[in-house]
């Protein structure tokens, strides 16, 4: 019960996303993400509806994600975190926000990118959280606990896609 992704939406970007290739390499060189074993950087910019630039880590991947043309910094958790959904989501949010802060304070890109306060929560486990009403209910409940003051809604998604929750 840990395979969730959280995406922090990007309001505007004024640089080629390839500038995140050296930035992510730098995170590896300087061990910038705590508790993460960082492995490599992958460039998928050539895929229109894809993961963009990715930092691969054992615990979870970070990517400048392009799904549905909706750019954001996505953190996709791969290994267990916490004992329940709320704890997991809360930890994932902390990790993602930490990465966002790193970008906001990076002198090479900080002035060229603006993050919004919108998040998108993505369930990445079709066994535990298949895209159905019951899973949606559980996820909404958990998200409203973690993002207590937020407006939470369920976006329209493509048939068969992973369950998603918008958080504003």
């Amino acid at each position: 019960m840990h395979k969730f992704g959280l995406k922090r939406k990007i309001k505007s970007i004024n640089t080629d996303i390839e500038s995140f290739v050296p930035l992510f390499h730098n995170w590896i060189q300087e061990d910038r993400i705590p508790n993460h074993i960082m492995v490599d950087v992958a460039n998928y910019k050539h895929i229109l509806d894809g993961p963009g630039i990715m930092l691969i880590a054992h615990e979870g991947h970070f990517s400048l994600d392009f799904e549905d043309n909706d750019l954001g910094l996505l953190y996709m958790r791969k290994t267990p975190l916490g004992d329940n959904i709320s704890e997991t989501l809360s930890s994932i949010q902390q990790i993602l926000d930490f990465a966002v802060e790193l970008i906001k304070t990076d002198s090479k890109v900080c002035e060229k990118i603006e993050f919004s306060e919108q998040y998108q929560l993505i369930s990445n486990d079709r066994y535990e959280f298949p895209n159905d009403v019951e899973s949606e209910r559980k996820l909404l409940l958990a998200a409203s606990g973690v993002f207590s003051d937020a407006v939470i809604s369920v976006p329209e998604i493509f048939k068969g896609s992973r369950l998603k929750i918008n958080i504003q």
Partner: protein, 748 residues
């Protein structure tokens, strides 16, 4: 326990579930240190699980070589391969065929377990990267539930059987090779005669000779469809090619037979497998492909041995059963045929129509090529593409060796709408099969053997060429560019008009990424001839070299009819080299440091990340493999015992002994029947009565366990008896290992 195992029970074929469970047992044995890492490596390779760059736990981060300390610590999944390091999974798609359901599931898995990308390879496979080994069983189960296997996708076995993606709809083919490639795939998958190769064995089918089709000239076994009139009747058959291959030293295939009747295709392939297993090189993996065996024996002797083997093969109904109702493949058009519509409001429709459409033999239908940059497709695109395919063509989807996807049986009037829908998901890029459509192996992105960034270069070339696509001279538009990250030719650079393979040069103590330029290879005629290397150019100057080479061709060709191959042959290697020579100069680091990094990678270039490749698999003999299978069986018996499942413990421990005994017997009697009576009798005659199995101290004690067990009536289902059986089985297998070692040393 894998939750998907329960969920998919009854859906997944029983035999596949058994194999995946076996693999889970082997994983557990590896975790407990009860299996040789070498054997586990070959076992996982044969399940399609491949190593990936940095899986030795080291990475050059641009400043220094760093250790990547994974939580699994000392636990390995093969020699020098860390358990927790992300790896690759190769999915076999025989002849590139993919159904709608399969595309959906492959997309789901890419995002749940990999990096969200499906990568189409140059052999019609799909690869996932960055997958954890613990996730492999659920992935394999979910793939299995939609009819996909990863079995024998890697390792020293028969790899994915490829075929022309136009098979069945092509205007020039002799006949549809699809049913034959399907039959041969099923027949050879896991076939006992194909488990003891020194290297991999690749098979391809083509429907015609003139086009690239299945590239039969560069395969270990290539089958080219032809027909012959015999006694007034048209007979189907194949011209068989053997011993072709690229790699560091490319070998053009030799003709095995001008016409092999269709009913002989499977038995001859089986016989070939036997000869390769028996006589192929096992120790020196660089010389272990069948092309080297053929070079050593000569084609005539190889053929004689194969035909001799064919004569003594025990009959197998499967050789011809698929021919009984006519060799057909069940792909049908979803929609009625219609006339082509060339009008659309979409701005790039005409360009796309001119490069990405092939008119099928069946009037009113087209094949649509989806050009994938670098062979990549995101999970979201894959899911949406499945939806589009379902709407327009159903399951008529195939992957191509040019790392693209084709949709077959598109009714012509649907082309404008289809374009619109593909364009909306970024899959209507024009220029499929042109110079813009550059193919590339994974190179330094994920491959342990990669020297230079083939994907980085291919991406850059694609970008630059696409920008001037509409202005490109017709003479060069149809050329092919192919890039490999090293000399091993996974990017098939030898058969490209313009090919590149990665290497490195030292400049004043610093390394500079280079690519060797290979010109004049022939993509047509099934990869008809190989190109020639003319010199290494710094990676950053390769795009310029493409410009110079193509401009020279346009200016200097004798006529519109002179091909690029003809031009290169005519002007010669020395002249072609002179064109690129000015680009070979490398400025000092101080003058221009960009030369000292590779495409798409800001790190200073080095070779520090290279590892030991797994393309060759581990050299594990058939006997070692079978003894390991016996060990796995006795391990399962132990697990059953722990769960107080004495019936299973009894049966598995007995089966384990039989398997170990059979492994020994097969050294001398390859075709021994798989029945307990025969195995025990053979074991007694060949190994027990003559004391070859005897231990120095225990003498015949361990061998007797099998003989006694065979003679015993129904085993008692109580714990004490089961425990004894399991222990005896374990000891018997240990003794079998010792006996095998003595045989290998020539002592008994």
């Amino acid at each position: 326990m894998d939750q998907w195992k329960v969920k998919l029970a009854g859906i997944l074929p029983e035999s596949l579930e058994e194999e995946i469970s076996e693999f889970e047992s082997q994983m557990e044995m590896m975790r407990r240190g009860e299996i040789d890492p070498r054997i586990f490596a070959e076992t996982r390779l044969r399940r399609g699980i491949y190593g990936q760059r940095y899986d030795n736990g080291q990475r050059d981060d641009g400043n220094r070589i760093r250790e990547i300390v994974f939580p699994s610590g000392e636990l390995m999944k093969g020699p020098d391969t860390v358990w927790d390091a992300p790896g690759m999974l190769r999915i076999k798609n025989p002849f590139g065929a993919v159904t709608v359901d399969q595309m959906v599931v492959m997309s789901d898995l890419a995002e749940e377990y990999a990096d969200g990308v499906l990568h189409v390879t140059t052999r019609q496979d799909i690869q996932y990267h960055y997958v954890h080994i613990e996730d492999m069983p659920p992935v394999m189960r979910r793939l299995g539930a939609v009819g996909i296997t990863t079995k024998e996708a890697c390792g020293n076995v028969v790899r994915n059987v490829t075929a022309c993606p136009l098979a069945g709809v092509c205007n020039d083919e002799a006949f549809d090779v699809t049913p034959y490639s399907a039959a041969l795939t099923n027949f050879l998958l896991g076939h006992p005669d194909c488990q003891d190769f020194g290297r991999k064995f690749k098979i391809a089918f083509s429907g015609c000779y003139d086009h690239a089709c299945g590239l039969v000239n560069m395969h270990d076994l290539g089958a080219l469809a032809i027909t012959k009139v015999i006694n007034g009747k048209v007979k189907r058959g194949f011209k068989l090619f053997v011993g072709g291959g690229l790699g560091a030293v490319p070998h053009p295939a030799k003709i095995f037979d001008e016409f092999v009747p269709e009913e002989e295709l499977l038995p001859l392939s089986q016989a070939m497998g036997r000869v390769f297993a028996r006589l192929g090189e096992k120790k020196n993996r660089a010389k272990a492909r069948v092309k080297f065996l053929i070079a050593k024996l000569g084609i005539d002797e190889f053929k004689r041995l194969v035909l001799e083997e064919r004569e003594i093969l025990p009959h197998d109904d499967r050789w011809t059963s698929y021919l009984e109702h006519g060799p057909v493949y069940g792909e049908k058009a979803l929609k009625s045929p219609s006339d082509i519509k060339t009008s659309s409001d979409e701005p790039n429709f005409d360009h796309w129509l001119s490069t990405n459409i092939y008119s099928q033999r069946q009037k009113g239908y087209s094949v649509v090529s989806i050009a994938l940059p670098l062979g990549d497709l995101s999970s979201h695109q894959g899911r949406k593409l499945a939806y589009i395919a379902d709407k327009y063509v159903g399951d008529a989807i195939r992957l191509t060796v040019e790392q693209n996807i084709v949709l077959r049986w598109v009714s012509n009037e649907d082309l404008p709408e289809l374009y619109k829908e593909l364009n909306a998901i970024g899959l209507a890029t024009p220029d499929a099969g042109t110079i813009v459509d550059v193919t590339s192996c994974p190179g330094t992105d994920t491959c342990k053997l990669g020297i230079a960034s083939s994907r980085g270069l291919a991406g850059e070339l694609r970008l630059q060429l696409a920008q001037k696509s509409l202005e490109l001279d017709k003479a060069i538009k149809g050329l092919r560019i192919k890039v490999s990250g090293c000399f091993n030719s996974c990017g098939q650079h030898h058969i490209a008009d313009i090919g590149f393979y990665g290497n490195s040069r030292n400049i004043k103590g610093l390394k500079v990424p280079h690519f060797q330029v290979v010109l004049g290879g022939e993509w047509k005629n099934n990869g008809g001839s190989y190109g020639m290397a003319i010199g290494a150019v710094p990676s950053k100057k390769i795009p310029k070299s493409v410009t110079l080479i193509t401009e020279s061709f346009i200016k200097e060709r004798l006529s519109f009819d002179e091909s690029f191959q003809g031009y290169v042959r005519r002007v010669g290697k020395k002249y072609m080299r002179s064109i690129i020579e000015p680009l070979m100069v490398v400025p000092s680091h101080e003058e221009d440091s960009s030369y000292y990094t590779d495409w798409g990678d800001p790190r200073e270039f080095s070779l520090g990340d290279m590892g030991v490749g797994e393309c060759a698999g581990e050299i594990v003999t058939r006997e070692e493999f079978e003894l390991q299978t016996a060990e796995r069986e006795v391990f399962d018996a132990q697990l059953a015992l722990e769960e107080n499942n004495f019936i299973d413990a009894n049966s598995k421990s007995y089966q384990a002994m039989l398997k170990a005994a059979r492994a020994l017997i097969r050294i001398e009697n390859y075709d021994v029947e798989d029945s307990p009576e025969i195995i025990v009798q053979e074991f007694k005659t060949r190994f027990f009565d003559n004391k070859r199995f005897f231990d120095r101290y225990a003498k015949g004690k361990f061998g007797r366990y099998l003989l006694q067990r065979f003679d015993e009536d129904e085993a008692e289902v109580i714990e004490d008896v089961s425990r004894r059986y399991v222990e005896e089985s374990q000891l018997f297998i240990e003794a079998a290992h010792s006996c095998y070692a003595r045989i290998s040393r020539g002592e008994v």
